[in-house]
Symmetry: D2
Subunit: 390 residues, 4 copies
């Protein structure tokens, strides 16, 4: 079950950490720490996930820094072990051969076709059973609504016009679905979340998952908010301050650009508690923090008879090191879901996302433990598929 | 369904906060914040829990400070609203009438009999359907093992000797079971956790629950440790430092006396993670902190490829305000379980305890979300009981 | 040496806490905690500061809530002891008699005259030796520059025009100086910081002090930044997040309005370290925090050979309880300076301010320990004045 | 002015970081971050401190790991830059040539003589003007008192007996003084703090400094406690919890062994505040923390009218990176003091120590800013010495 993993933004920190990690796992040079699909509860249930050795990497990027060089930079800042990068230089070179510049043509229809052609070539060269495209590119500004987003036929008409109608992330999803591949949006960008693209995924019988990988503050919220809820304590305020130095920091610290992300970070509270506490989640860009992120949250709550209490936490995490194993997990799970014949949004993968995709008739929980149960059941069902049929 | 709630240690902070809270709820003067049995998920399932108005309070204590006076002290230190205490002076006086000195006789058999007689009188005076005894007294030093703890007949023989064989908490459980009442141990003391007492509970057909109410640091551990486990992250160390000023602070800061409690505080980690991280949980007694407790925990963990990360939290909570609503919850749930014919250890109430009682054939989870599911199902089953049959 | 203390914004939290505190000290009902002028090092040096019993309070406000009522509100939120407020009802009533609505007339010249007339009446009714006016009103938006701010004669001409030329805080300073009184600006507003007002203070021979009382995060910066500087450690970033619920919270959380304050909060770093680290100081308004303020600061720094390290602190303080004793201190010190013949900006009081006033030829340190030395020397010099001469 | 720096414990983390740092500074490969003697205020005043290029290193150790190997280990754990260690391999080899096993003979007199002979050889081989011996070895258990500690003649008699009378650190000081060299005790061990050794230092005309380098929690206490004192705020409790993984962690986490160190850590509070707040300073050994240390302190204090407030800080520092530049500073300063004819305890170097040595008639402050002023004056006085006279 050879599986292609095509990373949009393949030269970024998350992508390179994912690639290095997957190569290291394949070579037996690392433990699968942080890989959810290697948790005994999942590994046991779904013996047929693609093995690390079955994953083949490639991708698009607008940048041109070689993967090895980027990996060395990450090693210098403590994200990757320098020794490991040195050992994997050759393997990284092989992935480098499958990196293509992000296509850009006169119309979005042509750009999409070029994108799909890159996927087809990749699949062909490596005799892949299927390909998962994963968006780990920079967060886009909020997309402008357009009439053509609502229906697939209208979208197809609009794409041949010179004026672009889709944000990049959605064009990537369009091209991916057109090529019969599955898609994961690990970013808060629009991606496949448009009715026309849902229609296309259904037409082509492909699954997709998203949005916005849950790696830090929101991960904690998804266990702490349920704790307060289960104990019937009244959360009065929840303020978060995220200091980050790398990746999207510069973009996200702009209050306007960040409005969407901040809102999605507080959504877990409203959904879990049933009310909206006071407070906001802020982002501050401080380059010295590097690829790490320090989040400080202050939660004020009241107990019996109104006694005021408080919880503070400081999370000092490396987004790349937290995100990368999830990228590998999602590649394995979405590929297996594709093979098992699942189509459309995979609401069962809510465990991985800040802003999980729903599905008609399926209620998506924001509580991690409930998401975990759903994930385990989902993985178990994938495992029962008869492989000979595919 | 009039239910007696007999508090051992009725003049302590937790007991007085419980009583004031229950009286306030009965009088409609407070919201049931922190009352788990008022969570929609539970309230809906078990409509037959005793109402707040059905609870009648009494108890034992070695101290003699009047309840009203203790309540005023708690109000002065910010644990209770002064206004509320003033409004409830009369109701507190009524509870005061049901407070008795902790019996002490020549032999433990006689002490136990006097204890049971106090319960019988309480039950009779208020025409109670049943009585739940809840131990909220100070933590005892670790009990010395004794042969007579192993079998009920041996225990009965030993109790008539002048030499005491049971720690106080266990004698309270003995007397409670003998009187046909149910028992809750909210402390880390031995309580009903002796084979001879399990035998007695079975003989008398009464249920019991415990041990050690989960109100602060361990509550957080029971959601954070599963989070790390579900994400397959490697927790390297977990160090906790608890600064507390009231209640058991002076006792627990003694390393020897506290060994048992510290061990139980780390148990949730081993059980949930499957391994024992480095680090310890320490207790420091600082009177200025008053009835509040500040816990600081430092968790170091590694992500993909060994990247070191860390989480710190500071919990600033009021133990009495967190414990009291749980005491009321346990009174309601254990009473309903008694009525529903449940006997022996109620492993389904693990949600409430640091060191939950197991039951032959029942695996007890230390993960809060799992404990919550078990609790909801348990409450639902109690609700289906036919009341006319009892 | 009877001293009048006229508070602009007399019905606010800081003012009412100052008044209650000073009355309590006079009545021997409280210890002078937080009163710098009661520190042995100062008390010994300047025996001639006005005694607490010599202070007479009055003030202006646009609000109309009675002082007693405001004090009771502060007691309910834990800022003042309820008992103390009850004991001081009568004394607060006497201060209430000296509260006047903030004057407002057709021209600023007339408004200023009415303001000065209120001061004269206050001084006369209580046979005061001198009066200190202290601005503790809400922070103003940044003032618009005006040509008339530069010279006193131009200002006098402009004030009789219908169009206002001075912000409120500066008009208060103008009226105060015109009435021969000294002035303290405890806020970040413009106040006396205009060349025309400096000219007026010199002409009338009155001293003044400011700006912006140093009560929390900046206080810590003024000892921590020198620590890093003295150890020659390289501070890479300093990010601060201030969550506050009362007072100026709503105003200050507006990024535009707050720009000036945030800049002044970082100034201490640049001045002390000699360079500007990365990072910003943010303000978040969370009403549930009430009259308290929680500030979280993250400082990243490097040691020998570039090793990255970090310091975090959380300050949970009550601004009113920190500011009020300083208001009393400033009343005593500025009054004594006035009596000792000092005029113009009192750069020696930098110890009390975030953004201390300089004085031609005097370098103002931002390091607390240096400010302390200057203050002690200043107080010592005041004490040597021959009282019979004044 | 060639100066020998002889490190007792030369193969430990602090020593190796000091050596690597000094070599890097000499080679122009690093900035003197953390070097107090390079602060403009000191560099300007004392132009005659030995230059980095004038320092020659050697030392004793019981361990045998080569310096280069230890440096590589420190690089792997993020304390030293790997690149730098690689560049300095040759220079480290030269220092390696001057490392000797710690002498051990039949009597302490003989051991001391062998120690002094090593110093003499070192001095001779490198034509050194003078040698400073710096103790950076592991902390000793508290020393047993002995009559011979009181007088030099008694000590000399006792040292020729087979039974040891001096702890190792004091024997090192004895040998150092006997060899006419100056001594610095960077540890909490007894070192030169015995009357007999003070007598010897006077006799030989050599200076010494100590004890216990101030690198983390105590450094913060020495600025925060004065802040509370200057503001006349009442500190109610100060609790500290130090989690450390390297160096003395294993030793110090033993409550008995650590009693002395904990007491010295709280001394700064009593000395600065004038009273002893509640609370203790604890040490926890957690190997995963490595060469870093995380200290969490909780300070509760009250403001005006008793309002309770709190400050928490978390210090995440690398002891070696903080200590090493101070070791270099002390070598320079003590050598210059020796040259300037200073003898006996150098109380003016209190800035560097947790438990600073006093001197008859000199009051030693525990406040960092005051210590800084004393240090600057001291350095200035050293600078005025006429070099041709020595």
């Amino acid at each position: 079950m050879r599986t292609g993993v095509w990373l949009v933004g393949v030269r970024g920190s998350v992508a390179v950490t994912s690639v290095v990690g997957a190569l290291a796992l394949r070579a037996g040079l690392a433990e699968p720490i942080g890989c959810v699909t290697e948790h005994p509860a999942l590994r046991g249930r779904s013996p047929d996930l693609p093995a690390f050795g079955d994953l083949v990497f490639g991708g698009h990027d607008v940048a041109s820094t070689p993967l090895v060089k980027k990996a060395e930079t990450l090693a210098a800042s403590g994200v990757l072990p320098a020794q490991l990068v040195a050992s994997l230089r050759e393997d990284l070179g092989a992935v480098e051969d499958e990196v293509r510049p992000l296509p850009h043509a006169r119309t979005q229809a042509e750009t999409g076709a070029a994108f799909a052609a890159d996927l087809a070539g990749f699949r062909h060269r490596h005799a892949l059973d299927r390909v998962v495209v994963i968006n780990v590119a920079s967060t886009e500004p909020a997309a402008r609504a357009h009439r053509a987003h609502e229906r697939l036929d209208a979208l197809r008409m609009a794409l041949i016009e010179p004026e672009p109608v889709l944000p990049r992330s959605s064009l990537a999803a369009y091209a991916t679905f057109s090529a019969g591949c599955s898609f994961v949006d690990f970013t808060p960008s629009t991606g496949p979340r448009l009715p026309a693209l849902e229609e296309l995924a259904a037409e082509r019988g492909v699954p997709y998952a998203g949005n916005d990988g849950k790696t830090g503050e929101t991960l904690l919220k998804s266990v702490l908010a349920p704790m307060f809820a289960m104990r019937h304590l009244a959360v009065r305020s929840w303020s978060g301050y995220n200091v980050l130095g790398g990746g999207d920091g510069a973009t996200l610290s702009d209050p306007a650009a960040n409005a969407a992300k901040s809102a999605s970070k507080q959504r877990v509270l409203t959904e879990t508690l049933g009310y909206q506490p006071e407070g906001h989640s802020r982002i501050e860009y401080v380059p010295d923090i590097g690829d790490f992120k320090t989040a400080w949250d202050l939660i004020t709550f009241t107990g019996f008879l109104g006694t005021p209490m408080r919880l503070e936490f400081t999370w000092h995490g490396c987004d790349s090191a937290l995100a990368a194993p999830l990228v590998v997990d999602l590649a394995r799970l979405v590929s297996a879901a594709h093979r098992a014949g699942r189509t459309g949004p995979l609401a069962e993968l809510a465990f991985f996302f800040k802003d999980p995709l729903g599905r008609a008739g399926v209620e998506v929980s924001h509580a991690l433990a409930e998401q975990w149960r759903v994930l385990c059941r989902f993985a178990g069902e994938l495992g029962t598929v008869d492989d000979t049929a595919t």
